[in-house]
Symmetry: C2
Subunit: 390 residues, 2 copies
């Protein structure tokens, strides 16, 4: 186990119907918030009405920023920053999925960034030194953004989808109300499951520490649980139990718990997927699903022992005398799970062919350099992974 | 999964040699601390010298309170409160095991409790409304006190060992340096392992929520890991890897993670053990070990399904057609683990016989009433559990 610091100050309020507590949560902390939402689903499902009623009854004033899209855009973030500044708002409340929460964070940081543009923080050219307090009410179990400091934003001008993070952007409070996810479509439920599982896989596979039994046990347990919960949510969309397991599982998948102690590591599948979705605007979880089996085959050449552990402990494969057979059975079992929840298992399933490899690799290189990954994930390596995923 | 709030603001700094960071951690936050220690082991091992050097080089002044014993005493806590008040200290730093950390917390709360005595908080007669900031450097992997708000103190006058908690007593920062535990004896290493496993078992068995796959996966994974790490630490006391897994595992075992969502539940084995060690002054972990197999047999009448899950998922027992056979194999396998690390498996192993049952039950009833458990764990039930554990 390597040295680490773990600090996660987000308070979680979990339970069916808990969304109505948001007014009480904000009261006394912030007077006026920017309520950030997506393209209408929170209005259709009634979640917005519940939040509105709760804020009004607690006397918390709010301005609304609507229309955040999946693969959220920098232009929308700038729109939010402008409102927050003009109206002198003192907090940001996200009601939506990862895109909405990430946009809320970028607005919270950008609103108090006087001398620089928020995009400079993504480009590694500016530091986030303060931020308005962020509160979230996720309506999708996927990104884990409700309990971490990460945000991923796409600049439509340059065509780059970049990620950055700050301890200042951990939400103060996140309300996890599984009932808000009952109406999530079968597709997006599945994409959310893949995203959460992938958040666990990246440190599990890429963390260099050779002996991490605590982290492995937590990650393996969460992977199995989220995979089962995804199936449960798809077959019974209004199951409080499955939606609840999915929601809490997805939150814990990227709250720093399973990565603490595995050593410095990269998120290569996310790196490459961000390029895929920046260019093709596919849902993030669909892009991850299309890349994962290929990336596993690529990576099994590098650290077969991790793939064997995954195959036996997560996918339940019986260990074979031939270790490559164990690995292939594990990847096949994982692909079968992807198929069972009806998501892509290769780039071909997204109609992305060999001719796209150069452009995706070129796009991914930008993030690779900013993240300091370009020695491990250089152009040729990214191309190789993409070839495995065709 | 039931409604819950999860909030754990303790910052963890983990790694070999990290103890030397304590001066930097405190600098700028507190000027003078009360350094609380046990009966000399921190001096023998050199841990005290490292802390002293670090505090001095950072210009943090400190007073020392030494001699905290296992099953820590209220009189010692009052001694610390007196020093903290007289010297107007503005923080408490624990260097030691659970007893030292718990004493530090009681001092931190008591020092600023103007109108009441700290024991009133344990008796449920006073509220902890403020506290000096607490910092910990555990030298034993066991109690989890380094990342929670609990404290357990014994009043030698009344002969009661009671527990209470406050969010204000979560340590601000805890430094987990596995190297500090290299010198822990075989016995206390084993007791620590039992304590940590029992912290996972109490919510796992007693949480009433019927469907908790996330919590079960985390608890089962941590139980398996801590059991293996205990064996590893005993066979190789200076193994950084095993000591590290043990230390982080024990911290996560009682930081609120695995209990969140399982519903309101009691800690019956801790309840009864506190009475055993209040009367017989046995190490807490030894008392727990002596009670656990018996308690499991008692509890298998109440919720056999939890014992079956434990037997298969933690102890690796193959499920039998006869569910009671599965359970008995699981309890036997757990008892075999206890024997393998050379701790008691029944009260007889502590030379406690049937004639002691009444006195232990009477003592335990005091805590049972304070914790609101007396309807579930009344005198007769406690006596029944004790009979199973003879």
């Amino acid at each position: 186990m390597e040295k680490f610091e773990f600090y996660n100050p987000t308070k979680i309020i979990f339970g069916g119907g808990e969304v109505t507590k948001i007014g009480d949560v904000l009261k006394g902390t912030v007077e006026t918030v920017l309520l950030v939402m997506g393209s209408g689903s929170a209005r259709h499902t009634g979640a917005f009405q519940k939040v509105k009623d709760s804020l009004e009854s607690s006397g918390v004033r709010f301005e609304i920023l609507e229309g955040v899209k999946s693969n959220p855009l920098l232009s929308k973030v700038r729109e939010g920053i402008k409102i927050a500044r003009e109206k002198k708002l003192d907090g940001v409340l996200a009601l939506g999925g990862g895109s909405v929460m990430d946009s809320a964070k970028a607005i919270a940081a950008g609103a108090v960034m006087d001398d620089r543009d928020i995009w400079d923080a993504f480009l590694g050219k500016a530091e986030i030194k303060s931020a308005l307090p962020v509160f979230t009410i996720p309506t999708l179990a996927a990104s884990g953004s409700e309990m971490n400091g990460y945000m991923v934003i796409t600049d439509e001008q340059s065509g780059h989808k970049l990620a950055t993070a700050s301890i200042l952007l951990y939400p103060k409070v996140s309300i996890l109300d599984p009932e808000l996810t009952y109406s999530v479509s079968k597709d997006y439920t599945a994409y959310g499951g893949v995203d959460a599982v992938c958040h666990l896989m990246e440190p599990y596979f890429n963390g260099p520490a050779p002996f991490t039994p605590v982290q492995d046990a937590l990650a393996e347990g969460l992977m199995r649980t989220i995979m089962e919960a995804t199936e449960g949510c798809i077959s019974d969309p209004t199951s409080y139990e499955h939606r609840g397991a999915m929601m809490w599982g997805a939150t814990l998948a990227l709250n720093g718990l399973t990565k603490a102690g595995v050593g410095d590591h990269h998120f290569p599948v996310h790196l490459i997927e961000h390029a895929v979705s920046a260019i093709y605007n596919v849902p993030h979880g669909a892009g991850l699903a299309a890349l994962l089996p290929g990336w596993m085959r690529y990576f099994s050449q590098k650290r077969p022992e991790r793939l064997i552990k995954f195959s036996t402990n997560v996918m339940g494969v019986e260990e074979q005398a031939d270790s490559m057979a164990t690995i292939e059975m594990g990847i096949e079992a994982f692909s079968a799970w992807l198929k069972s929840i009806d998501v892509p298992i290769c780039l071909g399933d997204l109609n992305i062919g060999e001719d796209a490899i150069d452009a995706i690799a070129e796009n991914a290189l930008v993030q690779s350099k900013i993240w300091g990954m370009e020695k491990v994930y250089d152009r040729d390596t990214i191309r190789e992974v993409l070839s495995f995923a065709l």
